[in-house]
Symmetry: none
Subunit: 195 residues, 4 copies
DNA sequence: TCCTAAGCGAGACGGTACGTCCGGTCTTTGC
DNA sequence: GCAAAGACCGGACGTACCGTCTCGCTTAGGA
């Protein structure tokens, strides 16, 4: 009944090995010194096996992001009932992680990769929480009246994620009070404190 | 009187030709297909002349930015007395420029270059107005009471520039109302309308 | 009684299809651009089916020669009673065939294949008539007294075939009188005309 | 006054090193396992330096032949006044050399290379003496009356060289009397012994 | 009638080499 | 002493085949 595809089946071991090697090399050498040959060698795989399944090194990186091999936790803001505190904590976490010397190269490389490939761009945006988790947190806050009913949630989350990206690009040093000020700037007083 | 250095002096013609060729190739082929050999050929210059004066292709791009060869006008927000309107107009200008098909590659490449090189990163940030012009406009607004006295100006401008960068990365399509909503998100109600 | 082998039997259709594809590809692309994958594709056969039955591409070519798929007629000298005339005619035929633009590649490739593989080497030699037909014609001539009783028949035929091979290798152009002169050189006056 | 070409000059060391490596690899691995990458590695040279100066591996081999790196002595027949003896000695020398186990691969590879490339073909023919030295010896013999005035010298030498090539191809074993019989066959009685 | 061995197509896999591009360095010549 | 021309070593690109190896199916004797 099944239409019966013939021929050997794709090697899952090879797939995993390739993605892990990609993640390792990407973190170690950065986006534009990332070499398919290097990945193949590190993965113990022939180049052709990579080219058979991925169109480019961008595709490899996008898949690594999908599998969570590059950004291990996917930065989910907590929900303690206090939106600003939660966002500040979340932003602090991201900044601390991104400023970790080992991760700085990784983050910059992610931005570079995102700039050169649409897939990676979207993946990075999601991985930084822009779409799902962060959005959800904002919606909760709006439902609870912490934000105005017409607050531009999408734009708020874009601003937050954008700030992270800009931070990565400019290699700005992070003062401890920065996340709080950023959250303050971005959430403004969409819910008037006096309201 | 002159302290007497002998030998030929640096050729200004070569310098200009190189930077112009860099700008042209950068816009045409993007950051990571930008080749020093290609620049040298297009500039009618030997590779050595490039390596003698610049340490890397990032340095070339940084110099192009400095000379305004890549972002011809440096996006300066107007000052009509209405901060939100001015910022919205400014943001619209930037988005329109960035979404121009010919400029999209350029912008993405700038982000990629910025991510890989600190010099370029800072240069890009300034070129997008984050430091000087945008900052000045915000200060004016604060002085006029459009913003609270303790409004986090630096963070507001970072959020705006960050949003631009994120927009470039994710290749998001721009709805006409988007700049307004972003400005709304970022300027929030730092000065309460009811205050 | 039968020693009992079970399982499907070798597909004659596949065998033929493979040899025909080999012959076609060999004539079209030459010996060292001859690809097993190409043969398999052209024959509508899997690579494994080829490797199951032949050890190498040389084996394939040798089999093609055996089946007469490469040198359709096996150049046989006529016997009109005049040895020199017969050999000249035969040599002319071979030269004309070999100089045919479509066949030149084929001949050169045959020599290349012969040089790299013993089986093919012997097969080619036979196909050019060195052993059987040519030899037989010389023996007839000797029996009739056209050649001395102690004429070195084997060496005469080797010289003739060798000249063909050299001609193929050097891509020499063929003057019409060349075959006659060669026959003259090689048969010399083993039977003295004055004798 | 000199027309003045600028830029670094071709490295003679590299040229020599490449040709020597080619000769070594060719003798060791044969024509169709001869790899440009292998030559480059053995010569301590980048691939580009090879491709800059030679169009193909055939060109490399042809140059090796020109420089005498493959066939060290260029097989010149002696002149003792006895043509047949000289040719027999010469042919014996060639056969002995070609049957040397180390040289057999070399000779076969030369034939293969010659079959695939015209330059190499002509070079091989010359190196085997067909054109100059052998021809000269035959002319001397004709002048002395050892050969008829109208003896087809070119064809005689072609037959001799052709026999060598055929010998190489068919991997025939060489009986000691073979060269004599071949010379007998080829020189026949162009000068009638009774004349 | 099953069982089992073999043939066969498809095709994934680790490799080797291809010929090209470009990086960064060095050398030669001319101004 | 700068600049052009350009050769050089090295590393990676993406492609083509190699020969081996599963897969899932078909074919054809023995049990």
């Amino acid at each position: 009944m099944t239409q019966g595809r013939r021929g050997a089946v794709r090697s899952e071991a090879a797939r995993i090995s390739i993605l892990q090697a990609t993640a390792a090399q990407f973190a170690a050498r950065g986006w534009d010194h990332l070499a398919i040959e290097g990945i193949a060698a590190a993965a113990g795989v022939s180049k052709q096996t990579i080219y058979r399944w991925w169109p480019s090194k961008a595709g490899l990186v996008a898949d690594c992001l999908l599998e969570g091999l590059l950004l291990p936790e996917s930065f989910v803001p907590a929900d303690t009932g206090d939106l600003r505190a939660d966002l500040t904590a979340w932003l602090t976490t991201v900044f601390v992680f991104a400023d970790e010397p080992g991760n700085a190269v990784l983050f910059r490389s992610l931005v570079a990769a995102a700039a050169e490939d649409e897939q990676v761009g979207l993946q990075v945006r999601d991985a930084l929480g822009a779409s799902s988790a962060l959005q959800a947190r904002l919606e909760t806050a709006r439902a609870l009246g912490e934000l105005d009913a017409d607050a531009p949630l999408q734009q708020i989350s874009d601003a937050l994620v954008g700030v992270i990206v800009l931070h990565v690009i400019t290699r700005a040093s992070t003062a401890p009070e920065l996340p709080g000020r950023l959250v303050h700037a971005v959430t403004g007083s969409h819910r008037s404190p006096r309201g």
